[in-house]
């Protein structure tokens, strides 16, 4: 898909509106493949029943042009903004806000956004500090990449943080991930992607865990020590027997992704952010001339 326009704010708004609905309806091919692979590997009767239903559901969503899951989540965007992109991030935020609101009202999508104390619904999946946007700024570049990860509450409620101490070592990290996923049981809609953030600070570890779940499935951390830990944890998690929807089985997770940061000598933070089997994500690239390319695999 491609278009050229001069009103960049409007282009970004239109792209955000399309991106949100597209992410909810059309899950990426790497995820489809992982689900079919899980369906073929699973041997428990309830677990197989769950995976058969999941694969059928993805097909029904395609056939009927419907959302894969009713939980439209909270819209979370990650923006990579080039130094020379001609629209200021303040205006990019306005455009993402307006696009999210418009998609919600026009489709219509269920609005999940509420005031956190009164619980009153704000009506269109936007509100105070919603949508949530993370920023990265790129030198010597004139483009904008926006990734939309509308994550449901069932999996987001299964988020865990532990400030391990250095003496706990990597063993403490592994134990915490294992106990978190076993404790979560069927609640986060397994089998999904376990995102782990290690190092940094308390807040940054959780941010990294969220970044990890938004990666294409099965990709590996560029640091070989961390990549090895991803493989090891994925194997261990699939030995727990929690299984699809927590009903018991061989496939508890589709994969385990880890993002890391260097940290203080006294810190050893580990954050777990679960992504359900309906691991929705979609991306768009906007050029400085207003050209738009939607990329389902990024």
């Amino acid at each position: 898909m491609s278009a050229v326009a001069t009103d960049l704010r409007q282009v970004v708004e239109d792209a955000a509106a399309h991106l949100y609905v597209w992410a909810l309806k059309d899950i990426p091919q790497d995820l489809r493949d992982a689900l079919v692979d899980a369906q073929q590997r699973e041997t428990s009767v309830p677990g197989k029943r769950v995976l058969d239903t999941i694969v059928k559901n993805v097909q029904v969503a395609d056939d009927r042009d419907n959302l894969v899951c009713q939980d439209t989540g909270i819209a979370v965007y990650t923006c990579r903004v080039g130094e020379h992109f001609p629209l200021h991030p303040a205006k990019i935020y306005e455009a993402l806000y307006a696009g999210t609101e418009r998609a919600t009202l026009e489709h219509p999508l269920r609005s999940n956004a509420v005031h956190t104390i009164t619980r009153e619904n704000t009506g269109a999946n936007v509100g105070y500090r919603l949508p949530i946007v993370h920023w990265e700024f790129i030198a010597d570049w004139d483009g904008l990449d926006v990734k939309c990860v509308p994550k449901g509450s069932g999996s987001e409620n299964m988020s865990f943080l532990k400030m391990c101490v250095p003496a706990d070592g990597v063993k403490g990290i592994k134990q915490f991930v294992l106990e978190s996923i076993v404790g979560a049981g069927g609640k986060p809609c397994p089998p999904g992607i376990v995102g782990v953030g290690i190092g940094g600070s308390a807040d940054y570890a959780m941010y990294l865990a969220k970044e990890a779940i938004a990666r294409p499935i099965g990709t590996r951390n560029s640091d070989p020590i961390v990549a090895e830990l991803e493989d090891e944890l994925m194997g261990l998690l699939n030995e727990t027997g929690i299984g699809p929807m927590g009903l018991g089985g061989d496939v508890t997770v589709l994969n385990c992704h880890i993002e890391h940061a260097d940290t203080h000598m006294t810190l050893n933070p580990v954050a777990v952010n679960y992504q359900c089997w309906a691991a929705r994500r979609a991306s768009v690239h906007v050029g400085p001339d207003g050209s738009v390319d939607f990329d389902r695999e990024a």
């Binding site: 009767v45 309830p46 029943r49 769950v50 239903t53 999941i54 059928k56 559901n57 993805v58 029904v60 969503a61 009927r64 419907n66 959302l67 894969v68 899951c69 009713q70 939980d71 439209t72 489709h107 219509p108 999508l109 269920r110 609005s111 619980r119 619904n121 449901g152 509450s153 069932g154 409620n157 063993k171 592994k174 134990q175 294992l178 106990e179 076993v182 049981g185 069927g186 609640k187 986060p188 809609c189 261990l236 030995e239 727990t240 027997g241 929690i242 299984g243 929807m245 927590g246 009903l247 018991g248 359900c276 089997w277 309906a278």
Partner: protein, 195 residues
């Protein structure tokens, strides 16, 4: 593991007692959608629900819907939410209102097992996130009460071939969730020893 078809609301208790944890079930008839705020209103704020819940099948849901010009609602995307948040309402739903089945995703913790056995109730596990399919099994939204709680209203749906569901907790004291968690805790000890 047997396969059954059950029509709700039920009038004959044998329909509940024949079901065993792990069985596959397809549901016909009418089911009632309910969620956090709906149950807070009934039990914490003491407001009587304007629908008859005797023998009912409750679904933990907050549907995505479209309002039509005549005031009725049509389904856009209807799926199921995590049940564990609402476990404390299980006993009063059975005892005060005669609810016989609760359907959701992710299961109930062990505190639900005893009241479900005593009151003859079933927990049905649906596949969370499989809302596109679930929507095709809802023939009509027949009634909506407490619209001001949108989307956490009380909903009555007419369903056809709703499922496949798995009996997660039966009325005989068995829970798949308890069994899976107990086995996983044993397994964790073995895994920790290998780290």
């Amino acid at each position: 593991m047997a396969r059954h078809e059950v029509t709700f609301p039920i009038t004959n208790e044998a329909e509940i007692l024949k079901l065993r944890a792990g069985d596959e079930v397809v549901v016909q008839g009418h089911i009632i959608g309910i969620r956090d705020r709906t149950q807070v209103r009934i039990f914490d704020q003491g407001v009587e629900p304007p629908m008859d819940l005797r023998g009912a099948f409750l679904l933990h849901t907050a549907p995505g819907v479209r309002k039509l010009e005549d005031g009725r609602y049509e389904p856009v995307c209807i799926g199921t939410t995590t049940s564990a948040r609402m476990v404390r309402f299980t006993e009063p739903l059975g005892e005060q209102y005669g609810v016989r089945a609760i359907c959701g995703k992710g299961g109930f913790p062990d505190e639900a097992i005893e009241p479900m056995q005593r009151l003859g109730m079933i927990y049905f596990a649906i596949v969370g996130g499989a809302a596109a399919l679930e929507t095709t099994q809802i023939e009509e939204i027949e009634e909506v009460a407490w619209e001001e709680l949108m989307p956490e209203c009380l909903w009555r749906f007419r369903v056809k071939d709703f499922g496949p569901l798995t009996v997660g907790i039966d009325a005989h004291g068995n829970s798949l969730y308890h069994d899976v968690q107990a086995a996983a805790q044993d397994k964790l000890k073995e895994l920790y020893a290998r780290l």
